[in-house]
C-alpha cells in the first residue's frame, strides 16, 4: 500500500539528489513557445517531485502544459529555465541516458499502424535492447496483461482505440522501466478501456514498484492517483493526496431535488444563487457546491418551493478543482461571465409536430458486409437533450452521420425535422446545426470572418446575417476578439465560436459530437448552461460524449455497442440497471461498463 502522504510542497531549492525516493523532480521549470510570433508561456516556474513507487496524476485541461512537461521530462524539449532531474540525471544534458531509463508513451501511442501487434513489440524490444532470450517470457506477460494474446498477427491499425492504447503501453513496457511517463493515455478511449488501463497501471505500481507520472484531462481519474498535481495555464495550482484535497470540500457539497421544477431551470436558478459556487445537474437532482463557510438554506435558495429536499452529498475531487479555478478567476478578474442564462433566440421555424423531431425506425447502415448500425429505433422530441454513449466502434459516429444527412442509411426509415432523410437530405440539413470536438473552424480566419463565412454557407440574407453576427458577438462575448485569428483563441473561446457558428441559422436541431473534450471544467459548465438554455427554448439537442458527467445532462440517453442500442432511458433509469447489492449507488460509468461487459466477450470491445 502506498503511504498516505499528506500534501507537501516541493521546495525549489532542495538538493537534486539522485535518491531513489525521487525518481523525477521538476525545479522552477519554464518553457515558452512562439507559434506565429506570438509568445505562449506553456510552463511557468513549475516545481514538484514524484515519489518512488506512486502514481502521480498530472491533471489539467488542454493547453495547461501537461504534454510540454512530459516532453521536458523525456528530454524531447529543452527548458528555457529550470531543470528536470530524472533518475538522478539531468533530462536535458543527459537526455540519452534518461531515455534509456524511462518508458514514455506519447499521446498517440507511437504505434506503427501497418505493423502487426507482434512486429510493433519486436521493434520496441530491439530499440530498447531487450535480449532475445528474455523476450518470449516478457511478450507473454505483456500480451496477457493487455488482453492482446489472440491478436498478435493483427495490424495495429485495425485495433480498436482501447486495444491500441494497451498495445502502446505494452510497447513502452517491453523493458520494464523504473519510471513510466504516460501522456494522456485515456483520452478518446471508452470507459471500459480506461478502467482496464488503470488496472494495469495499478499492478505495475503495486507489484513491480514502478513510478508512474500520468497526465489526464479527466478529473475523475484524479481519485485513482496517490498524488495529484494540478496544472492550469502553465502554473502548478495545487498538489497533494487527492483524498486530502477532496476532503477539504467536506460539508460543502449537497444534493437538491425539486420534483416540480424542471431540472434545467432549477440548475440555472441555483447557479446564480448567492453562496453557490457550483450547480450541476445529476440525474434528477442538482448537485451544489457551496462557498466556504456558507450553509445552504432551502428557503433562501428556493423561496416557495414546497417539496424540495436537500441532502448532504460526498465531495468529489472535481469540486476542489472548481473551487480553485473560481478563486483564480476572481483574483485575475478576467473571467468571462456568462452567468445569466443566455437568452437564446427561439428557433425560427417551429415544427408543428411537437411530438418527435427525430424519428429513426429500424435504421441500418452497412459498409460492404459489415453492419455498422444494426436496425436501431428511437425518437427524440422537441426540446429534448438526447445522448448517445458508446465505446469506440459502437456505431455512434455512423448513426450521427446518418442523422445529419451526411451518410445515406442502408435500411429503415429516418425522419429529421419532419423530412425524410432518404429523399431530401438537403432540406433537413438547413434545419440542423452541427458542432464537433474538432471545432471545424478556419483557424486562419478571424472570429468575425468565421461567423460571416458560416452565415453565407447557410445562405442567410445580408440583413439577417448582420443581425445574427451581432447576436453572436454579444451572446458569446466575442466582440473584443472579433479580429483575432480563431486559431489563436483559447480552447474555451474556440468552443464558444464553434457553437456560435453552428447556431448562425437558428437550427431546430443541434448535433454535438463530443463537444467538450479537453476543455476545462469551468468552460464545460458554461457550455452546458448555453445548451440547457437552448433546450429550454425548444431546440432539440443530440449529443455524443465520453464524459459521464455530460451524460447526466441528458433527458434521455442511449448506450450503444456493436451497432445496437443496449439500453435507452433517463440517466436515473439507466443507472438503475447497474444497481446490485455490492453497488447500491452506481455511477453512470458503472452502468456503462456493466452493460458493455455483459454484452461483449472480453477482448473484442
Amino acid at each position: 500500500m502506498p503511504p498516505t502522504a499528506a500534501a507537501y510542497q516541493a521546495s525549489p531549492h532542495s538538493p537534486a539528489g539522485p535518491g531513489d525516493d525521487t525518481p523525477l523532480q521538476f525545479d522552477q521549470l519554464s518553457k515558452a513557445f512562439r507559434p506565429n510570433g506570438r509568445l505562449v508561456q506553456a510552463l511557468d516556474k513549475v516545481s514538484f517531485r514524484v515519489r518512488h513507487g506512486t502514481v502521480t496524476g498530472l491533471i489539467g485541461p488542454d493547453s495547461a502544459g501537461k504534454t510540454t512537461l512530459m516532453r521536458l521530462a523525456a528530454g524531447l524539449l529543452a527548458p528555457d529555465s529550470g531543470s528536470v532531474t530524472v533518475l538522478g540525471k539531468n533530462a536535458t544534458a543527459q537526455s540519452l541516458q534518461v531515455q534509456a531509463g524511462i518508458g514514455y508513451m506519447p499521446q498517440r501511442f507511437g504505434l506503427y499502424d501497418d505493423l502487426t501487434v507482434q512486429e510493433n513489440l519486436d521493434l520496441y524490444a530491439d530499440l530498447q535492447g531487450v535480449a532475445h532470450i528474455d523476450r518470449a517470457d516478457r511478450y507473454g506477460e505483456l500480451l496477457q496483461m493487455a488482453g492482446l494474446a489472440p491478436f498478435t498477427r493483427r495490424l495495429a491499425g485495425q485495433l480498436s482505440g482501447g486495444m491500441k492504447q494497451k498495445l502502446g503501453l505494452a510497447c513502452t513496457l517491453v523493458r520494464q522501466p523504473p519510471l513510466l511517463l504516460l501522456d494522456e493515455p485515456t483520452v478518446g478511449v471508452d470507459p471500459l478501456s480506461r478502467r482496464e488501463l488503470w488496472a494495469i497501471v495499478d499492478r505495475l505500481v503495486r507489484k513491480e514498484n514502478t513510478t508512474v507520472l500520468l497526465s489526464t484531462a479527466y478529473l475523475d481519474e484524479a481519485e485513482r492517483c496517490d498524488e495529484v498535481v494540478l496544472l492550469h495555464e502553465g502554473r502548478r495550482l495545487d498538489q497533494g493526496d487527492p483524498k486530502t484535497l477532496r476532503d477539504r470540500m467536506l460539508g460543502r457539497t449537497y444534493s437538491l431535488s425539486a420534483p416540480n421544477l424542471s431540472k434545467r431551470a432549477l440548475q440555472a436558478h441555483l447557479s446564480r444563487a448567492p453562496g453557490v459556487l457550483d450547480a450541476l445537474i445529476q440525474g434528477e437532482h442538482v448537485r451544489l457546491v457551496m462557498e466556504e463557510g456558507t450553509r445552504p438554506d432551502l428557503e433562501q435558495l428556493l423561496p416557495g418551493a414546497e417539496d424540495a429536499s436537500l441532502t448532504e452529498a460526498p465531495p468529489r475531487y472535481e469540486d476542489s478543482f472548481i473551487a480553485l479555478l473560481k478563486a483564480q478567476a476572481q483574483v485575475h478578474g478576467a473571467a468571462p461571465s456568462p452567468a445569466d442564462p443566455p437568452a437564446a433566440a427561439p428557433p425560427a421555424a417551429q415544427t408543428a409536430n411537437a411530438a418527435a423531431v427525430i424519428e429513426a425506425d429500424r435504421l441500418e447502415r452497412r459498409f460492404g458486409a459489415f453492419r455498422a448500425v444494426k436496425g436501431i429505433s428511437f425518437a427524440v422530441s422537441r426540446g429534448e437533450v438526447f445522448g448517445l454513449l458508446g465505446a469506440n466502434g459502437a456505431g455512434k459516429t455512423t448513426t450521427f452521420r446518418m442523422l445529419c444527412g451526411l451518410l445515406p442509411p442502408s435500411g429503415g426509415s429516418l425522419r429529421v425535422a419532419g423530412v425524410d432523410l432518404r429523399h431530401a437530405p438537403a432540406a433537413a440539413r438547413s434545419r440542423i446545426g452541427y458542432m464537433s470536438q474538432k471545432f471545424s473552424l478556419y483557424s486562419q480566419l478571424s472570429v468575425m470572418e468565421n461567423l460571416r463565412f458560416f452565415s453565407s454557407a447557410y445562405g442567410l440574407a445580408r440583413e439577417r446575417a448582420q443581425e445574427r453576427m451581432r447576436w453572436a458577438m454579444a451572446e458569446f462575448a466575442l466582440a473584443p476578439l472579433a479580429d483575432s485569428a480563431s486559431g489563436e483563441l483559447s480552447l474555451g473561446y474556440k468552443q464558444r465560436l464553434a457553437l456560435a457558428c453552428a447556431l448562425m441559422h437558428e437550427p431546430d436541431i443541434l448535433f454535438l459530437d463530443e463537444p467538450t473534450s479537453g476543455v476545462d471544467p469551468l468552460a464545460r459548465r458554461e457550455f452546458w448552461q448555453r445548451i440547457n438554455a437552448l433546450a429550454e427554448a425548444g431546440v432539440t439537442i443530440m449529443v455524443t460524449t465520453h464524459f459521464m458527467e455530460e451524460a447526466e445532462y441528458c433527458d434521455r440517453l442511449a448506450i450503444m455497442a456493436t451497432g445496437e442500442i443496449l439500453t435507452m432511458g433517463t440517466p436515473s433509469a439507466v443507472k438503475q440497471h447497474a444497481r446490485t447489492e455490492t453497488l447500491p449507488d452506481p455511477t453512470m460509468e458503472d452502468a456503462f461498463i456493466g452493460l458493455i461487459e455483459a454484452r461483449a466477450p472480453a477482448g473484442t470491445a
Binding site: 524531447l76 506503427y112 505493423l115 530491439d126
Partner: protein, 385 residues
C-alpha cells in the same frame, strides 16, 4: 549535442546492431505493406520509361508536308517521288499555294514546298530551278530540322538527275555528315538514360522525405526519440532500406533501357552502378535534409518536388541542353546533383567509360552527397523543436 559515440556506449542497453536491424526491419515491412512506396519505386519508373520511351520523341519522322505542283511534268513527278521515298516525309500534293496554306493553318502539314509553273524549264537552264520552302516556325526546333531535311532531299534529287544525264554536279566541296554516339539520332537513346536520373531522384528524395515526415505526422517519431536509439541510427535506418529500394528501381530502369528500348550500354555496368549508388546517396541526403525542415507529408512532398524533382527534370540537361541556357541558369545548374548524374549516364550509355567526363562529375556528386548528409546529421536532433 555531444559526441554520439560517447553517449552510445555509456547509456544505451542493447547494441547498435540490434537497434539498427530493428529499425530496418520495420522500414522494410512498411515498404512491403504500403503500396505507395512500391509504386514510387517500381511502378513510377515503369510508367515514366514507357511514356518517355514510346510516347515522347524528339525525332522528326513522317513529317506531313504539302507539295504544290503548279504545272505537273516528268521532272516534278520525279521530284515528288523523292519525297514519297523519304522516310522523313509524308507528302500531300496540292495544285495551288492557297490550298496548301489552308492545310498549314489547319495544322495538317508542317511545311510547304512550292514548284513553280516554270520549274521544268528553268531546271534545264544555266542557274537551275529554285523551289520555295515555307516552314511552320511555331516550333523552332522542328522547323530547323524540316528545313534541313527538305534541303537534303532536294540536293540528293539534283545529284540523281545530274548523274542520269551523265555528268556530275559541279560541287568542289561536299559536306559528309557523321553523327557520333547516337548515329541513328534516336532521342530515346539519350532520353532513357537521363530518365534514370529522374527516377532515382524520385525514389531518393521524394520517397525519403515523405516517409520521414510520415513518422512525425503519425506521432511515431516522438515514441522513437524516447528510446535509447540515436539520431544517427534513425537516419541510417531510413538510408539503408531506401538505398536498397532505389538500387532496385535502378536495376529495373537499366534493364528496361537495354532490353526493351535497345539503348546501347557502351560503358561498364559496374561503373554505372557505382556512380548511381553515389547519386542515390545524394538524393537520399536531400530527402533526409528536407525532412529535417518539413514535418508533414504534404509540405515534405511539395518541397521535394520543387527542390529536387523539377530541377532534375528541367536543369539537368536531361531534355534541355545546359549549353544553350542563359548564363545565370547555367550557374544554378551546378548545384543540381542530377546534372552531373545525367552527364555520367549519357556518357556511360552512349560513349563508354570516358574517364575525363565520368571522373569530374563523380567528384561533384561526392561533394554534394557529403554536404547533404552532413547537413542532415547536423540539423537532426533528438528534440521536438
Amino acid at each position: 549535442m555531444s559526441d554520439p559515440r560517447q553517449r552510445n556506449g555509456s547509456a544505451a542497453p542493447g547494441t547498435f546492431r540490434m537497434r539498427l536491424r530493428g529499425l530496418m526491419r520495420k522500414e522494410f515491412l512498411q515498404i512491403f505493406r504500403d503500396p505507395s512506396s512500391i509504386a514510387i519505386a517500381f511502378l513510377m519508373p515503369l510508367i515514366l520509361l514507357l511514356l518517355f520511351g514510346y510516347g515522347v520523341s524528339l525525332d522528326s519522322e513522317s513529317i506531313p508536308v504539302a507539295l504544290v505542283v503548279e504545272q505537273p511534268s516528268a521532272d516534278t513527278a520525279s521530284f515528288t517521288a523523292a519525297f514519297h521515298k523519304s522516310r522523313y516525309f509524308v507528302p500531300t500534293t496540292y495544285a495551288t499555294t492557297r490550298e496548301a496554306e489552308a492545310a498549314m493553318m489547319a495544322r495538317q502539314v508542317n511545311a510547304i514546298v512550292v514548284l513553280r509553273r516554270d520549274f521544268a524549264q528553268r531546271l534545264r537552264g544555266a542557274d537551275g530551278a529554285p523551289i520555295q520552302l515555307i516552314v511552320n516556325g511555331v516550333d523552332a526546333n522542328t522547323a530547323r530540322i524540316v528545313a534541313g531535311y527538305v534541303e537534303g532531299v532536294w540536293g540528293t534529287w539534283l545529284e540523281h538527275i545530274a548523274l542520269a544525264r551523265g555528268r556530275s554536279l559541279a560541287q568542289p566541296v561536299q559536306i559528309e555528315q557523321r553523327v557520333w554516339f547516337n548515329s541513328e539520332l534516336r532521342s530515346r537513346n539519350f532520353l532513357v538514360p537521363g530518365l534514370v536520373a529522374i527516377i532515382m531522384t524520385l525514389i531518393g528524395a521524394l520517397l525519403t522525405a515523405m516517409v520521414m515526415a510520415r513518422e512525425w505526422e503519425r506521432g511515431t517519431m516522438e515514441a522513437l526519440l524516447v528510446t535509447p536509439v540515436t539520431m544517427r541510427e534513425i537516419i541510417l535506418g531510413k538510408l539503408i532500406p531506401y538505398f536498397i529500394l532505389g538500387m532496385g528501381g535502378l536495376a529495373l530502369s537499366v534493364a528496361m533501357a537495354i532490353w526493351l528500348f535497345e539503348v546501347p550500354l557502351r560503358g561498364s555496368p559496374w561503373l554505372l552502378f557505382a556512380t548511381s549508388a553515389l547519386f542515390l546517396l545524394t538524393a537520399l541526403g536531400m530527402g533526409l535534409f528536407i525532412s529535417t525542415i518539413a514535418r508533414s507529408q504534404f509540405v515534405a512532398g511539395q518541397i521535394a518536388l520543387i527542390a529536387t524533382f523539377l530541377p532534375a527534370f528541367l536543369l539537368s540537361g536531361f531534355i534541355f541542353d545546359i549549353g544553350s541556357m542563359p548564363d545565370i541558369v547555367k550557374v544554378i545548374t551546378h548545384v543540381i546533383a542530377a546534372r552531373y548524374y545525367v552527364a555520367i549516364l549519357q556518357t556511360l550509355f552512349l560513349a563508354g567509360d570516358t574517364w575525363s567526363v565520368v571522373l569530374p562529375n563523380t567528384l561533384a556528386l561526392a561533394v554534394l552527397a557529403v554536404i547533404f548528409l552532413g547537413l542532415t546529421q547536423l540539423k537532426s536532433r533528438k528534440r521536438l523543436e
